[in-house]
């Protein structure tokens, strides 16, 4: 069987490196044996094992879009202070892992010199919460469907809320996320504050492109509102604009029907999602601002609303109370009052089963 290609040499399906090979020795030794943790100061955690051993973590904000040249600098620091061990968090912060407490401050100095802030932690025992990094998506850097950019608005918002990342000065956990289209790769549908790129105009069909690149039946089937019908003669599709709510799913299926519109596309803001089941159950975020303009480079209208929401909540929330829980307490009518956000009719759900969000009680506030 000499004629067969020497496939054995082709390495594939090896999966990721085994994580245990990446763990610092103190973690390997105490795997599953941690007793408690403390937040020593913003950005610095210590976890103490049952046997008294400790691991320190220094949490560092980063833009997610990282150059390999920066990663190498980060590695240099990890080599110098952490015996070459570090990790990332599920919200894209870097965590330097140390065993020598005395190295924490020099490490912080060095990483901050590189332009990366230390912070993003929270401390339930003291009831002090720092703001973490914004989970986000590709935007104009790489995706074909974004209604807005991703990294740009994130940078603008984090600049504006920077102190909350550095200092643990918020009453509860607050997660901000951004997705550049309704596919919601950022899973913004369950964050305390979410930003999502939205279109406001139906797709513009280029029959020619549709004919060349699209499968008509699956394009038709892709529309949740049944707004698309086939035009069998011309081998293209026709959009019933009345029925279109601009979700963009048709464009995901078929490049021949983009719905971009620089002036009409923009940003929706959702609030009150939460994922942990601490205290109150996890829940989805709710649309409170159906549209703000897509205004690069610094999206000032968006930043302004985010700040207003955050500040109204921070001023009034009780310890541990997240935005969802604050609203539970004060009521949605007061949320709009407190934040000064105009209540627009689009906020009322009339998608598939509107009955679920219409108020069925006379209980409300004036």
């Amino acid at each position: 069987m000499a004629s067969e290609p020497v496939e054995e040499e082709y390495i594939s399906d090896i999966g990721p490196p085994y994580f245990k090979d990446m763990l610092p020795p103190v973690i390997k030794n105490n795997y599953g044996k941690w007793k408690y943790h403390e937040v020593l100061k913003p950005g610095v955690l210590v976890h103490v094992a049952e046997n008294g051993e400790k691991i320190y973590s220094v949490r560092v904000g980063q833009p997610r879009l990282l150059s390999i040249y920066t990663i190498r600098e980060i590695c240099d620091i990890a080599d110098k202070y952490c015996d070459g061990y570090l990790r990332f968090t599920t919200r894209n912060n870097i965590e330097f892992l140390l065993t020598d407490e005395s190295k924490i401050d020099p490490l912080i100095e060095e990483i901050e010199k590189l332009g990366f802030p230390v912070g993003g932690t929270w401390d339930a025992p003291s009831g002090k919460y720092g703001l973490s990094n914004i989970v986000h998506t590709q935007g104009w850097i790489h995706c074909h469907t974004p209604a807005i950019d991703a990294s740009g608005p994130v940078k603008a918002i984090m600049d504006a809320l920077f102190d909350h990342f550095k200092d643990m000065d918020l009453p509860g956990l607050c997660r901000i996320s951004l997705a550049c289209c309704l596919n919601m790769c950022g899973a913004v549908h369950a964050s305390d504050i979410s930003l999502v790129g939205v279109h406001r105009t139906p797709p513009i069909v280029d029959d020619d492109v549709v004919r060349r690149t699209c499968e008509i039946p699956s394009t038709v089937a892709s529309c949740p509102t049944g707004a698309i019908r086939p035009d069998m003669k011309k081998k293209t599709v026709i959009v019933n604009e009345e029925r279109c709510m601009y979700c963009g799913n048709c464009y995901t299926m078929c490049p021949g029907m983009p719905l971009f519109d620089p002036e009409n596309g923009g940003v929706a803001i959702l609030v009150g999602g939460k994922l942990s089941d601490a205290r109150s159950p996890a829940r989805l975020s709710k649309v409170v601002v159906p549209w703000l303009p897509n205004n690069p480079p610094r999206w000032s209208e968006v930043v302004d609303v985010i700040k207003r929401i955050l500040e109204a909540w921070a001023a009034e929330a009780k310890p541990h109370e997240r935005i969802a829980e604050w609203i539970d307490r004060i009521g949605w009518e007061k949320f709009f009052e407190r934040t000064g956000i105009e209540f627009r009719v689009q906020v009322i759900d009339d998608f598939k089963l509107p009955r679920l969000t219409f108020r069925t009680t006379t209980q409300f506030k004036w």
Binding site: K286, Q346, I348
Partner: protein, 410 residues
């Protein structure tokens, strides 16, 4: 009537609760044909199936409804109920009667009907249970002479109904009975001449206790409320406390927004009215001490109905506050806007809530002239799937032009 004849039914003559079987028996003593009702019913009890047929349309001159036609599968065996139509007679608001009025109905029904009634039907009517096609018109004529009229059935307005309200309740924030009467009289045509996509119901409660169960059963519920502060008589609060009412446990802790405080020392109750949601609980428990405020009016909720087709609906808050004062112009204007929109847009057998769900709350609010308000919703939507109107938008640009220009440029 011997119990051996109707062994199953006779089981239902036992026990302390008043027996409907005895009522039929009692009637049959005067009107022997009613024994046939027992016969048919016993048969149903044996076979576990109804023996009533789908009714045909029967009514009285000039009316399209008010009568439910009914025929028996056992016509031969039970000729006394071969035709057994019910007449729905519009009750006086609040179900108040003089014995004189009630006796008149009894007399007429003795002459033209089975002598059986339901006091009352679920919608609110006096149900005259069972008569023949032949008797319908004369019965109606007599009722009319006695001052009574038929209620609604079919694709029409249904008999409006209200809680006892100001007639005998200290909590009433609006005049439920006067409003009920006014709406009934204003919409006689809509009540008697079916012409709509389906039925439409009004129900009116004087306060959020909702003693007429309007939220579940009315396309248009009107519920009294107030906007200013609860009135407290601290002396009476003290008295309740002294009489042993545990104000902290029973009142304060049950407040849904925890906006009350009980000062155990001073025996004083404090309410932060800006956080009160007017649920009535504290007023219910301390009726001598607390009262609704003075700025009174109603909340209008729409769309309540039974489960078919899409599952049951509790009415939705559409108007968070409206004045309710005779001649009730605001409410009637709104109701008429709703009738018009539903009549024009509703499909065959589509209730108001189903229509609103189909066309969207945005279009509905606009059509009937109501502003969006956060009080209309439990919570905002979780999906960003909404519509814009042309006036919301800037002139459209074509992405193809942008891209093609860019591709060519160089």
């Amino acid at each position: 009537m011997s119990d051996e004849e109707f062994p199953l039914l006779s089981e239902l003559k036992k026990g302390p609760w008043p027996s409907f079987v005895k009522e039929i028996e009692k009637t049959a003593e005067h009107k022997p044909e009613m024994k046939d009702l027992l016969k048919q019913l016993e048969r149903s009890y044996e076979d576990k199936i109804t023996y009533w047929k789908h009714g045909g349309i029967v009514s009285v001159k000039g009316y399209g409804g008010g009568v439910i036609g009914r025929y028996s599968f056992l016509a031969k065996e039970c000729p006394g109920v071969a035709e057994f139509h019910t007449m729905r007679v519009n009750q006086p608001a609040g179900y108040f009667y003089t014995t004189e009025a009630l006796r008149k109905i009894c007399d007429i029904w003795e002459e033209y009907g089975s002598g059986l009634t339901n006091m009352h039907g679920s919608t609110g009517d006096i149900i005259l249970l069972g008569t023949t096609t032949h008797n319908l018109q004369p019965c109606f004529n007599e009722l009319a002479k006695a001052g009574f009229d038929l209620g609604g059935s079919g694709s029409a307005l249904r008999t409006p109904n209200a809680c006892v309200g100001p007639a005998r309740c200290e909590f009433a924030c609006i005049d439920t009975l006067e409003l009920c009467y006014d709406l009934t009289m204003s919409y006689q045509d809509e009540l008697h001449r079916p012409m709509w996509p389906y039925k439409f119901k009004f129900k009116i409660s004087g306060c959020p206790n909702d003693c007429v169960a309007s939220k579940a059963r009315a396309d248009f519920s009107i519920i009294g409320t107030w906007k200013d502060s609860i009135k407290i008589d601290q002396e009476e609060v003290k008295k309740y406390a002294e009489q042993g009412v545990d104000i902290k446990a029973r009142v304060v802790n049950n407040c849904p927004t925890k906006c009350m405080e009980w000062d155990e020392e001073k025996k004083e109750l404090r309410i932060d009215d800006s956080n009160c949601v007017r649920c009535m609980h504290c007023i219910n428990v301390l009726p001598k001490a607390l009262r609704p405020g003075d700025e009174r009016g109603a909340i209008i909720l729409m769309g309540g109905k039974a489960p078919i087709l899409e599952g049951p609906v509790m009415s939705w808050v559409v108007v968070p506050f409206i004045k309710v004062e005779p001649p009730f112009e605001e409410i009637k204007e709104l109701a008429e806007n709703v009738f018009e929109f539903w009549d024009e847009n509703g499909k065959f057998r589509e209730r108001l809530s189903e229509l609103i769900e189909r066309v969207g709350m945005m279009r509905f609010l606009e059509a009937v002239g109501i502003e969006p308000d956060p009080r209309q919703i439990k919570e905002p939507r979780t999906n960003p799937f909404y519509f814009w109107k042309e006036e919301d938008l800037k002139p459209r640009t074509d992405p193809w032009e942008i891209w093609r220009k860019a591709e060519k440029e160089m």
